[in-house]
Subunit: 343 residues, 2 copies
DNA sequence: CTGTTAGCGCTTTCAA
DNA sequence: TTGAAAGCGCTAACAG
């Protein structure tokens, strides 16, 4: 570590023989002193190793932090390796970088936003946080909030029409009334277990992404008069290959075997595809599969996956944009149906 | 937004008819007042809607922030979607979450760490930042620093032996003196262009990951007496499929066509594999390929990729651990050779 | 254009 | 156990 003296605005002002207001102005309000004087002061500061006012003190004083908290729906550790969440973060980061605003990652499983609220100018909240207490807190917060993929009925939100898009992609997969459906759901239940979801009608119909997609699927199935047995909906707690493989194996070994798989993420869909192929089943001849999200890997699979492409990166960018612009409306983003070869 | 009054320690103390020191103690130093009194005060605060001392003021006073900055080697937007960096972040996040320490993502292309230095307790720096000025700043910083995959000769570091691992995996790929090599490098040059790298001997041999790997490859080639033409090293500026595909096409259309491809990332290797297969070449019979990193997708490819598996998540965890423990040594992490079917 | 001063909201001696 | 007061480092209003 360098052993130079640690300067403060005050001490440096004293050293230079000017008042601290002058130094402060030199850094923050160029119009308050002569160009010449400002340059002199800045140069002197730089030589002495004073690199500008302490940001923490500055922020305390101004009530402005140049930092926003991105509240994720789950732990940071989990979200950062989720391909869809990553793309979203990428969009947020890209936009914030332009505004020179720092990004603080915050876990949706944390106990309280209080830990960071005094450090940030506000929140972008990506998906309903796993700890639902946070939602209540966010409603009370006296700072800017932009919600994504859900809405807390205040301030701004960015959403995609999950229900309609799920309906659309399901329609692509269902070909006849004879089709036997299976739904591989992501986080339909608040559990870390892989299990069937039986009483969908008793489920609290909330605004979570999973439930919106489920509703879309169910509508499509009803409209098509196809069959969805009451033991044909799975809950998968996390979008990862290991868990998905277990559910996929279960689903593929049902009797009668489903021939259409509606999957709430591409990772799940790709896993079903791979499991099916290992059983010697052909996609789409024997088994049709659709995913959701439109991750890169889905384009590269054989056959490529039919899925709903979400503009996750744009979503992130939009959310950050709305935050910066202090927007107060709800923005609904487009989606695209990708017709791969899996159905 | 809630319209309740915004309490401060002072105003709440006044309201409760006690001194502000008492309120402060109730929240921070339970031993300084009776249990009964403490509980009373806390309950009263909670009822009135005061959720504890303002963290920004607290931090300014204490000089402790419970936040660390993760300095990435490139822009946050880019790093967050890189599979290897993601795993690293996952490890860091998991460890910090346990300590209830917040994570601030910081771009390696930013101008100066000054923007955040006053908000954080220190830095974890993942890879040499693209803006090399940051390295100099980090050396001066009077706060904790842990570097990863490079070393600034102060405080702690976590590293993997890139050179030896590259050597090892290259040895797996090279079978005879007749082999025609190609190296698809990642960020060997400070440019955003895809191009050949000619004068490797004039290159500043630095401690960047890319150069260490290159040295490992070159050693392996030399030891095997195989052939690496002087126009057979490519620079790819980013690890993504589009850029990799361009370089892969170039490399595959060389005459004589290389039959061994040493790739500095799995994504690059997978892209070469896919391009080769599209040309009707068989892997590994016609073309042998090795990657680096050991991402999930590499295990699932056909054939699975031979590569070096880095324990990226452990690396992240370790870096955070060392930060929290205020370690000062250099830690060298293990790697594993994964023998897939691609060579 | 420059200097003085009152806080931002808090913690922590120190004396009572 | 409590209260008064100094000060963390800074900004902004105001007076000169």
């Amino acid at each position: 570590m360098s052993n130079g003296k640690t300067w403060t605005l005050k001490s440096i002002a004293q050293e230079l023989g000017v008042s601290n207001a002058t130094v402060s102005n030199a850094f923050n309000r160029p119009d308050q002193l002569s160009e010449k004087r400002r340059v002199e002061i800045l140069a002197a500061c730089n030589k002495l190793g004073y690199f500008g006012p302490n940001k923490a003190a500055q922020s305390l004083r101004k009530g402005k932090f140049n930092t926003i908290a991105l509240v994720l729906s789950d732990s940071v550790a989990y979200m950062v390796s989720d391909p869809v969440a990553s793309r979203f973060m990428k969009g947020v980061a890209a936009e914030l970088e332009q505004h020179k605003v720092n990004l603080l990652l915050f876990s949706g499983s944390a106990e309280s936003v209080n830990d960071v609220i005094d450090f940030v100018d506000g929140f972008i909240c990506y998906g309903r946080p796993r700890n639902s207490a946070l939602v209540g807190q966010l409603k009370q917060v006296k700072k800017k909030v932009v919600t994504v993929d859900f809405n807390i009925h205040r301030s701004a939100s960015v959403e995609v029409d999950n229900q309609t898009s799920a309906y659309d992609v399901a329609k692509l997969a269902i070909h006849s009334e004879q089709d036997q459906l299976a739904i591989l759901g992501l986080r339909l239940l608040d559990t870390s277990l892989i299990c069937r979801v039986y009483d969908i009608h008793q489920m609290e119909i909330d605004t979570s992404v999973a439930h919106q997609r489920l509703q879309g699927y169910l509508d499509a199935i009803a409209d098509s008069h196809a069959t969805l047995g009451n033991d044909r909906i799975w809950n998968i707690p996390e979008s990862n290959v290991e868990l998905a493989a277990i559910a996929a194996k279960e689903a593929l070994s049902c009797n009668p075997r489903p021939n259409v798989f509606l999957c709430m993420s591409d990772l799940i869909a790709l896993t079903v595809m791979s499991e099916a192929q290992q059983l010697g089943l052909r996609v789409p001849e024997d088994v049709r599969i659709v995913g959701f999200d439109g991750i890169d890997e889905a384009l590269r699979s054989v056959p490529p996956l039919t899925t709903v492409y979400q503009h996750s990166e744009s979503k992130g960018r939009k959310a950050a944009e709305m935050f910066m612009a202090d927007a107060h409306h709800a923005e609904v983003l487009d989606y695209e149906l990708i017709r791969g070869g899996s159905c």
